[in-house]
Symmetry: C2
Subunit: 351 residues, 2 copies
């Protein structure tokens, strides 16, 4: 998508060098960072230079493509590749797309004895993983845009934009598509405490795509719904269970309940990989509780242009910090997927 009027993907590979947007610097600085080795790309995944399910999957695919280059000089390339595979899988042990990407490249290599041929095969598989992510985003965008009529005001939570994928994104893809179709629309951006992905990333994406929007405190979503100023909610998801129960960024459940109360359509936009058919319902999803410092300190830019964290409460303050919540399927109007708009109860027949 657009950054300063030029188009970018979040991650790509050129001649074996993986390049990606340095996401922790956003929205204050835009920088492309290059990793010539598999170990470097692994470190980028681990330290969240790249984040978001789709983008992590692409990064893992490219890391595999780098690995097959690096094992060429090894006395036992297959054994060496196994070690690299393990290294890549340990970077973010909870990222489903990471395992999918590693498996997919390994499967493509299976049975090819001549390791010199691996490079072209792995490159092709890695590019396919990234391209399919982009195609999923485009399909979600096209299908979701059909729900958006002129002058709609759409609320979104967290960042399920192109920065979380390779391009287009999930929740924001319908918004970008509708905008490019010439529709007038407005986006309410939940700032999304504690990590402020809405204020930091979603607002930056929308600004670059020229979509009118306003950041609001998460507390204000209900107020604007109550006043009839929200026509639709679109969010992404971290994981969707077979029955449609949806794990997403903390606060999603609150917005879903509010939308339900005001009869505002609430959509979850997802690529196929987000649905976990092995998970029966939300009760099986374990919610990660993260460090309390994410609540108690906030990072940003000072007036003199430097960057710092500030402590918002008193010394020794205590916080609890669940990272996700579960939105029950009955609060979800439908899933916007590359296969169409799917009601929660149909999900298990679709995937």
């Amino acid at each position: 998508m657009f950054v300063n009027e030029k188009t970018y993907r979040t991650i790509w590979m050129e001649d074996g060098v993986v390049k990606m947007i340095n996401q922790p610097l956003l929205p204050h600085q835009f920088e492309i960072i290059a990793y010539p080795t598999c170990a470097g790309t692994c470190e980028a995944i681990r330290s969240m230079v790249v984040r978001g399910a789709g983008a992590i999957g692409a990064a893992a695919g490219y890391a595999m493509a780098q690995a097959v280059r690096e094992v060429q000089s090894s006395p036992d390339p297959l054994q060496a590749l196994k070690l690299f595979t393990t290294m890549i899988m340990q970077t973010r042990p909870t990222a489903h797309n990471l395992f999918y990407a590693v498996d997919r490249v390994n499967t493509a290599l299976t049975g090819i004895q001549d390791s010199a041929r691996w490079v072209a095969v792995a490159d092709h598989a890695a590019k396919q993983i990234a391209d399919e992510d982009v195609e999923d985003g485009q399909a979600i965008g096209k299908i979701g845009a059909a729900l958006i009529t002129d002058h709609m005001r759409i609320l979104t939570h967290c960042n399920a934009g192109w920065l979380a994928f390779v391009d287009w994104g999930s929740a924001l893809a319908p918004i970008y598509t509708a905008k490019r179709e010439g529709k007038n629309l407005f986006v309410w951006v939940d700032e999304t405490r504690p990590r402020l992905q809405g204020a930091r990333l979603t607002s930056w994406e929308l600004m670059n795509e020229g979509v009118p929007h306003a950041i609001i405190a998460d507390n204000a979503a209900g107020y604007f719904m109550q006043r009839g100023e929200v026509d639709m909610v679109i969010v992404g998801a971290d994981k969707v269970a077979r029955n449609g129960d949806t794990a997403n960024k903390i606060g999603t459940f609150e917005k879903a309940l509010l939308a339900n109360y005001f009869h505002i359509p609430f959509y979850v936009a997802i690529p196929p990989s987000t649905v976990d058919m092995s998970c029966a319902d939300g009760s099986e999803i374990i919610i990660e509780e993260r460090d309390q410092d994410e609540v108690l300190t906030i990072y940003g830019k000072t007036q003199d242009g430097s960057f710092t964290s500030v402590q918002i409460s008193h010394d020794g303050a205590m916080a609890r910090n669940p990272a996700f919540d579960i939105t029950p399927a009955n609060l979800i109007t439908g899933f916007i997927t590359p296969k169409g708009i799917i009601p929660p109860e149909q999900l298990k027949y679709t995937y």
Copy 2:
């Protein structure tokens, strides 16, 4: 209440000098600041060194007591007092308690020709205003504490503690009373974006009173309710209409709706002055929209102990910032008042 194991009121007067806690420095520094003149006390109200309905009322009463001292040497004390009265009333033109306090002192002075006698009369009236605020808080505390059973987990939003009044507070008074009665309890503190009064003030108050608690992102309230970890919600109010519709800090409505969904009792604790019988319902309450910088920048303490604001979003980001919302009466279990627990529909017969 307790600060570092000593008891304080938020504001008091000694020999014509008004003393108050410098609230903008909290929770990072605790400082008592003294205002020897009426103009100084007015500036403290205007610049929010003192904030909260009850505390502002007390400040205005003391400012009047200072004014009557300062007019003693005037050729026309009555005329001079009128000028001071206007000055006090212009400090926070939307603060109902401010006008109430000014009127009350003026009424006490009515008909007293000898201006030398004004000082004692005004001092007495100003002290009464402050003392009645404390008595209201104690009564709310006692009545509200009866709702609290051992091991309850109570959620509160914003700061309706003693810092917003002269002592005890409204929403937190039942918690302090229950704690002093020996009950075990736990408080979930919504951080309350954008101005973070929960993280900054409520958590600091609870820490000083030794009440176990945790700060949470406003987004996490629904999560803990969903898990059955919230037994009751108590909030304060800025203004309550005749029918029970309640204006309070932005986000209160979201928490009320969540509580309703999970059948969690939702109480609004208020002194009598918060009920505006001239206001029929919430639709008549105008919601102030404040500067977008309250959303886009956050103030706090840096690692080196200095204080700064940080910008959380990109340059030129846009935000909307409604300060309050309206919680409809049907979502409110009851009002905790000095006269008892009052269901919303009974409010108009009580006040």
